[in-house]
Point group: C2
Chain length 375, copies 2
């Protein structure tokens, strides 16, 4: 095990790029998709199957884990990797996003945020320092600074005030990380600024001034629409350093990810493949399928003949039956197939970039997914 | 593939016996436990994991499958084995038990039973002939005659009237099976008679008169208590032919199964390992554990160090967290470990019988399970 964190771009195709992030727990091939393991489990999947899909890294949620079972408890049990039987890298968010979306009675001050747990109503303080402490207790390989995820819509003044707070928190996060982290762990900054180009630039430059081994673009895919999102991504990646990985948080659909890759993004996370899997929605090389639809009741074809996933070999009629019956096996199989589809999408994207045909590849996938709303 | 059905007792230890049922789809080692795959899925388990536990056969529920997705639909899709990705033998019940326990507005006549589906209220007729037709459409390897599962408590007159109806239905079931079944499939009779020894004897002799390749003991474990159940089992197995497999339906706990094996039973089915698995109850070689209990919150020991099941290697603290969080992975892991425990119990029982130490083995397991209510 090497004890260092590094990133190298290997191939470029336009602004799209493929590369590798080296960590002590293994290499992350980019563009990378990180399945979301909210509560120390990628929902409805065995960890060995998550690994079998080709995922090099998963994401854990600081907010959820600090509330249940608790960061100190996980540390006592040997850390998050051991706890959840996942040996490869883990990225953790800082908890900021879930505090905004899930917790009650939030109060934000310069110091940090105080909120009530959505589980039991307990009052919890989250500061930049505590967010890093929690992530270090979990043993996270890639950690995120605490930020305020600027809501959408927000006025320019609100967005500016919010990002400036986030930048001060980013600096405090880095200072805390320096004293608490282990060798080979990395801390990423997060660009905020809403849909205001000058604020995005201000945020990106402020973070670069502080200096991070990787940069995320946050506060997008929150209702601003694909065009505005792509504009902000394009603007950020034009400013952010070429030699650092770039992570678009919480995104997304195959089309959103391909568009972001074309604009220089290297990393993604999203609950979509697992959440959709629990609701009978499948991502396949033929497009998105809603397996609840009666048209699949006697469809003896496999879910996705083009996928290498064992779960995708199950017949649509059987999956339809399982979904209609509310059987867990339906969620298990479709989640597995979806996560593998996302990984196969990344693998093919990397290959297309290496072969200089990324635009054609993205166009082909977008065409397959153009009719997703027809279901 | 041999196209015949046969049974051979291999070893005896007191009245306990080990043997093998040969079917065209594979050998079933006895004593055998059949995981229950109610709606074409052993709940929360991948079929390959069910096979990996050592299960030679699973059970499917005629009642559930005829209502959803429908026997004709399963036949059109290639039969139940293909539909649910299970290549080994399947035993199906006749639907009679679930009609009594789940359906609404039942009306029983000499001809059969008419009921309303618990799913959509549709009126459905189930006759002995239709029960066989459904099982043949499913492609079941071991089929069961339609019977009326005599409720408990029942007066002697009620139990007698009920069993006599079941015996007439058994005869009609056999006649229907003779015209519809495929080579190598088998039909079992079911002994009824409540807790009345003379009625149990009357039922067993009536079935033997009709003649079946295997015999089940039904209508037990419905509230009569372990002692009465063992008495009825002992009485039935003393009458039933030595050279035919004997199946105690819907049983049960490890203790109940061991007691029944000691009285000459060869086959079992029960929802307990999977249902308990979904509720955080684990069967282990150390006894039964309720993983919701706070005592497991920081217990870093594996669920069951004595088990060979991959799922049993997960730490109790992690399973506690998953169960408390309502995560599907908790149900998936504990169901897997429980089904494997049941198979390991069968394997050790077969070995103990072969080595003439079954009584000591059963006593040892009973001691491990004596404190199950302490949790």
């Amino acid at each position: 095990m090497s004890a260092s964190f590094s990133f190298a771009v290997k191939e470029r195709d336009g602004r799209a790029r493929s590369g590798a992030i080296a960590t002590p727990r293994g290499v992350i091939r980019t563009p990378a998709f990180m399945p979301v393991g909210t509560g120390a489990t990628v929902k409805a999947m065995f960890p060995e199957d998550v690994a079998a899909t080709g995922a090099d890294i998963i994401l854990g949620n600081t907010y959820h884990l600090m509330l249940r079972p608790g960061a100190e408890r996980i540390a006592k049990l040997g850390g998050l990797h051991k706890f959840m039987h996942w040996e490869k890298p883990i990225l953790t968010d800082s908890g900021g996003y879930q505090v905004m979306s899930l917790a009650k009675l939030r109060k934000i001050t310069e110091e940090g945020v105080t909120f009530q747990s959505h589980l039991d109503g307990a009052t919890v303080d989250l500061t930049p320092e505590r967010a890093i402490e929690v992530q270090c207790l979990l043993g996270s390989d890639i950690q995120m600074v605490l930020d305020e995820c600027t809501p959408f819509p927000a006025t320019r003044d609100e967005a500016k005030r919010s990002l400036e707070l986030s930048m001060r928190w980013a600096e405090r996060s880095k200072a805390a990380f320096a004293t608490m982290s282990a060798d080979g762990q990395a801390l990423f900054g997060i660009v905020q600024g809403g849909v205001y180009p000058d604020l995005r630039e201000q945020s990106a430059r402020a973070l670069m001034e502080i200096g991070f081994p990787g940069y995320a673009v946050g506060g997008l895919a929150v209702g601003e629409g694909q065009e505005a999102m792509f504009d902000m991504v394009e603007l950020c990646t034009a400013i952010l350093p070429e030699d650092r990985p770039r992570y678009l948080m919480g995104v997304g659909t195959p089309q959103d990810m391909l568009g972001a890759m074309a604009r220089g993004i290297d990393m993604f996370d999203c609950v979509m493949p697992t959440r959709s899997g629990r609701h009978g929605q499948a991502f396949t090389w033929g497009g998105r399928l809603n397996l609840r639809n009666a048209c699949y009741a006697e469809d003896a074809s496999p879910l996705d003949a083009e996928s290498l996933c064992p779960a995708a070999q199950y017949e649509r009629a059987y999956l339809h039956h399982l979904v209609k019956s509310g059987e867990m096996l339906g969620a298990m199989l479709i989640s597995y197939a979806n996560v593998q589809f996302y990984q196969e999408l990344m693998a093919r994207a990397r290959e297309a970039i290496a072969q200089g045909r990324f635009a054609a590849f993205a166009e082909d996938v977008n065409r397959r997914y153009a009719q997703e709303d027809a279901d």
